[in-house]
């Protein structure tokens, strides 16, 4: 049974792709570099090196990018209208944080067709933390008529390092916002483009990847992969300690970070498969965190070396 509700007479909202275009355009006008999604599996935009590493160190930076984010445990075989194995974030990093950052953010909502005066918009306490990245921040979830549409965070630490200056991270949940704009109940009914739905484009992926991560993944193989990636990350990080001069500046810390991201995703796969106990869970997370924190510390040293050599001055 459907409940009749009085709906605002409005033109059908932005398509999924237009939503991405509008947000991209808005933030480019704010001086952001428009980046691309990272090509290693991540659980959130925060793990993109453009966030995790760029917020470290003193250099100002503004960037925006779309990040498809894989959360195997959230998969629902394409049967739940709101939960996805892979959802899409639009992430913005503003470093240092501008004094009028809330106002700029609210203007971005205007840019995607939300009339702020007609809605109930609220900033409710929600401090974000990623135990696997050694990252946390203070901020809010932004609610639009009771719907959580954005995570708004003043980053305090990344990779266990106190940030200076402070960057703001804005993470828009694109499916939710789009469903709101188009007034549809299921994410699969979203219009992605003028003639294709979100379901047409993504449903098969949701079904298959849920089936894989809940029922068919090989837990032992995944565990072994985890160990392998961890080993490589460690070796790379150990090697950095003795790297000197020119070879220090081009030392592949970014590759070490990729292995760390792999570990994080493999951990998520094991979790979805239900093969880790709570105690082991904490221990595995700590192992990934150690890699992330070591990468961050080494990256800062490398930045310092580069600054000293005048590479990026």
């Amino acid at each position: 049974m459907r409940v009749k509700v009085k709906l605002e007479a409005r033109t059908p909202g932005l398509t999924f792709q237009d939503l991405i275009l509008q947000l991209s355009q808005f933030w480019v006008k704010q001086g952001c570099v428009l980046q691309q999604p990272y090509d290693v599996e991540v659980g959130a935009g925060t793990m993109h090196p453009e966030t995790f590493l760029r917020v470290l160190g003193p250099q100002p930076y503004r960037v925006g990018f779309v990040q498809p984010s894989r959360r195997p445990a959230d998969g629902r075989y394409g049967e739940n209208p709101n939960r996805l194995y892979k959802h899409t974030q639009f992430q913005v990093i503003l470093k240092p944080s501008p004094v009028d950052v809330q106002d700029i953010y609210l203007k971005s909502l205007g840019a995607i067709g939300i009339d702020l005066k007609k809605h109930d918009i609220r900033f409710e306490e929600d401090n974000w933390e990623s135990p696997t990245l050694g990252a946390w921040g203070i901020g809010w979830q932004v609610l639009l008529d009771g719907l959580e549409i954005t995570q708004f965070t003043y980053f305090q630490q990344s990779g266990g390092i106190d940030l200076d200056p402070i960057a703001v991270e804005l993470t828009y949940g694109l499916e939710r916002i789009c469903a709101f704009l188009q007034n549809v109940e299921s994410v699969y009914a979203l219009r992605w483009s003028a003639d294709k739905t979100y379901g047409y484009i993504r449903l098969m992926e949701e079904q298959q990847l849920s089936e894989y991560s809940f029922d068919r993944s090989d837990a032992a193989a995944i565990r072994a992969e985890f160990e392998l990636h961890e080993k490589q990350a460690k070796e790379l990080l150990d090697g950095f300690k003795t790297a000197e001069g020119k070879s220090r500046m081009r030392y592949p810390l970014l590759a070490a970070y990729d292995h760390c991201l792999k570990c994080s995703h493999l951990f998520n796969l094991m979790d979805a498969r239900g093969v880790i106990s709570t105690t082991e869970r904490a221990a595995l997370m700590a192992r990934v965190r150690t890699l992330a924190c070591r990468t961050a510390a080494s990256y800062l040293q490398q930045l310092g070396a580069e600054a000293a050599a005048g590479v990026r001055a």
Binding site: E8, P96, S97, D145, S277
Partner: protein, 715 residues
């Protein structure tokens, strides 16, 4: 002479403008800002006739200080200089020392005078310390008052050297007596311009004083007084309820929270699909309250209505756009809950038991699967005891089943999504799957009571499981060295102990705490990970629980500190019995003989302590050795009283027994008036001490009177 005209008092308006401060923290911050200002002003002698009021809304903390003087009062001081002998020469003329003292004090040498001090006569000068202006003082005080606010977790929004606060500070208003006060807080210079509601007001509003500020903010969409916001919400909730002829599902915490979550709260009503009413009320209410901060509404018969009331931060929702949005969100949330309700029950509650292996309780105490086995053992022990003592509602099999199922919901999707519903979800699933009501209710209730005023489980089976679960937590954690300190009690062991005490007292359950702890210790050793506890730990655990019992007797039952001490000194292993003795003691306390007898008992205890004899010690009293009639009299009165007290005690007649003890007062008094206990002859002395030791030992088994009276000690 006419006294100088009293200067006109002035007022300060001070506002800290912020990005949204978490609603739950505002009430405390508001209070703290007031206290800080009062303290800092008092330290500057500026508190007389001064009133500090503070208010808050999500984007601001505001102080209104009125009745301020324009400046501090001038203070006269006396400065002492060199001693007279050094200051004046033999003919009484000022020396160089005196002259230089005068110069240093900027006074004429003739205005110096002599004062008498403890060390002799000294030269002195009178100085007037001119009071600083309130403006000067506030410039120093205001940044301090803000800096000294404490927050659970502060942040920086610029960098490591930047200011710290709960959220970024974006503007400061400081207006003293209508004029801008030059002060900087968190690196921001104060102005006389505030900001209204984000969407309903202007972002630059000049203000002159508090009343002007309050009025202008109101027309710019901000109600600055939290009480007024709460009133507005209350009125609108009632109006909707009246219109729909239902009532609001009462929730005082939610009312308070939404008042602090909105600068201009307005209540709107929404509907949801009545089909969702098939879900249990507990789940619907939790989704509405905890996740969406909506008020649920009830029909007259108490059933939930398919409606909700939301508080929005806007002045109206003319076209129902906001309403439609909130309805949409709630629909998705309810759909999720229904999905969990159905998918969780594809298997039976007991089937989740093996999954508890993977849910750790505490690393050294194993998983919840291990904890369940321990809870079962303890619950069985308790119910068997009770049943054998003639309590017919003690059902061993049902308690065992409830204990087996109690933690299963921790592995369900529903509890993963709504952790605050642990226990409740298990109870609901148990009932839906045909477990007996007694078992389902026990599972549902077993986390109770969660505080001093929370009810205990509704049936005895629930009480047994709750008792067993809590006791296992306390015994297990203390056994592996998790001891609550100060405000840190991550496993809520104090609350667990409080729960145990409440259950025992309210159900009047006969149980020996030490034996119950022994049973829990056995369970701890019988199951993985097989921890052992020492007898020293056992007695520490008894003390830990008794400490909460003292608290309950004092806070909940209003017994006096010394009454509780007196009864506990005579033993409190059986709390129900201790409670009976407390009631008797409180009743007898008013009687004429009581307090003087308590004084005598205290005296006896001191005498014995000094002589190194413990009360009730085995020293034989030899009536042949008595030298006076008062000794004989006390001895025989005590013997008669003792046999009476014994039989009254056996019958549970504590008050009558205590009355008999109190009746000993005249003979005790006569004894002390008539004899010297510490007689010179050793055997006489020993005999008298033995008599007193016997007296104290015999008559302090209900309550130790020697604890009564004296100073109140704070625990």
């Amino acid at each position: 002479m006419k006294p100088p005209a009293k200067p006109h008092p002035v007022e300060l308006l001070f506002e800290i403008g912020c990005e949204e401060i978490p609603a739950g923290m505002l009430p405390k911050a508001e209070e703290e800002l007031r206290v800080n200002l009062e303290k800092l002003l008092a330290a500057e002698d500026l508190s007389k006739d001064v009133a500090v009021e503070t208010f808050s809304a999500p984007r601001r903390l505001t102080a209104w200080v009125h009745g301020l003087p324009v400046k501090q009062a001038d203070v006269e001081l006396e400065v002492t200089g060199p001693p007279k002998s050094v200051a004046y020469d033999s003919v009484g003329a000022p020396t160089r020392a005196a002259l230089s003292f005068a110069e240093k004090q900027h006074v004429h040498v003739n205005s110096l005078y002599l004062v008498q001090t403890a060390k002799g006569e000294y030269l002195a000068a009178r100085q007037v310390k001119v009071g600083r202006t309130t403006e000067q003082i506030l410039t120093a005080v205001l940044p301090r008052a803000v800096h000294d606010l404490t927050w659970p977790r502060s942040m920086t929004w610029t960098g490591l050297d930047g200011p710290r606060f709960i959220r970024p500070i974006r503007w400061i208003v400081a207006v003293l007596d209508g004029k801008l006060l030059k002060v900087a807080v968190a690196g921001i210079s104060a102005g006389d311009s505030t900001r209204g509601h984000r969407f309903l007001g202007s972002s630059a509003i000049r203000v002159r004083n508090f009343l002007d500020y309050e009025k202008k903010l109101h027309s710019n969409g901000v109600i600055i007084r939290p009480v007024r916001r709460q009133e507005k919400i209350g009125k609108e909730l009632e109006a909707f309820a009246k219109k729909g002829s239902y009532r609001v599902h009462e929730d005082a915490d939610l009312r308070r929270l939404v008042a602090y979550l909105n600068e201009y709260p307005t209540v709107i009503q929404g509907d949801f699909d009545p089909a969702f009413l098939n879900l249990p009320d507990e789940i619907l209410v939790t989704v509405m309250r905890d996740h969406q901060k909506y008020f649920a509404v009830e029909k007259k018969n108490g059933e939930l209505a398919a409606q909700f009331l939301a508080v929005i931060n806007a002045d109206k929702d003319g076209k129902g756009i906001i309403r439609a949005g909130h309805e949409r969100v709630l629909r998705a949330r309810f759909a999720d809950a229904r999905f969990f309700w159905e998918s969780d029950q594809k298997c039976r509650l007991a089937d989740y038991l093996p999954k508890l292996e993977r849910v750790t309780y505490e690393s050294r105490l194993g998983s919840y699967r291990d904890k369940v086995e321990r809870i079962r053992d303890i619950a069985r022990w308790l119910t068997e005891q009770w049943f054998n003592l003639g309590i017919h509602q003690a059902h061993v099999a049902e308690a065992d089943r409830a204990a087996e199922l109690a933690k299963c919901d921790l592995a369900t999707e529903m509890v993963r999504e709504f952790p605050e519903l642990q226990g409740i979800v298990g109870g609901l699933y148990a009932r839906a799957q045909g477990e007996p009501n007694e078992v389902a209710d026990a599972v549902y209730d077993h986390y109770r009571p969660v505080g001093l005023d929370d009810p205990i489980p509704r049936n005895l089976t629930g009480c047994a499981v709750a008792f067993a679960d809590k006791l296992d937590s306390v015994v297990g954690c203390l056994a592996v060295g998790i001891v609550p300190t100060g405000s840190s009690d991550p496993y809520a062991l104090r609350r667990a102990s409080l729960g145990i005490v409440k259950i025992i007292l309210e159900k009047k359950l006969p149980v020996s705490l030490s034996q119950a702890i022994g049973a829990a210790g056995k369970a701890l050793f019988a199951h993985k990970p097989k921890r052992a506890i020492t007898s020293d730990q056992e007695s520490k655990i008894v003390d830990f629980i008794l400490d909460r019992a003292r608290f309950v007797f004092r806070e909940k039952e209003q017994f006096a500190y010394d009454e509780v001490s007196a009864v506990f000194r005579s033993g409190a292993d059986d709390l129900v019995d201790a409670q009976k003795r407390l009631v008797a003691l409180r009743a007898i306390r008013k009687s004429r003989n009581f307090e003087p007898l308590a004084v005598s008992f205290k005296r006896i205890r001191k005498i014995l302590e000094k002589a190194g004899i413990s009360p009730g010690a085995d020293g034989r009293v030899n009536p042949e050795m008595f030298e006076t009639s008062v000794e004989r009299e006390l001895h025989s009165a005590a013997q008669t009283a003792a046999s009476k007290v014994h039989s009254l005690k056996r019958g549970g007649k504590y008050q009558e027994a205590l009355e008999v003890v109190a009746g000993l007062r005249p003979v005790v008094d006569r004894f002390f008036d008539g004899v010297m206990v510490m007689a010179e002859k050793e055997d006489v002395r020993k005999n008298r001490l033995a008599l007193l030791a016997q007296l104290l030992g015999e008559f302090t088994t209900i309550a130790d009177f020697s604890e009564i009276g004296g100073e109140e000690r704070l625990s």
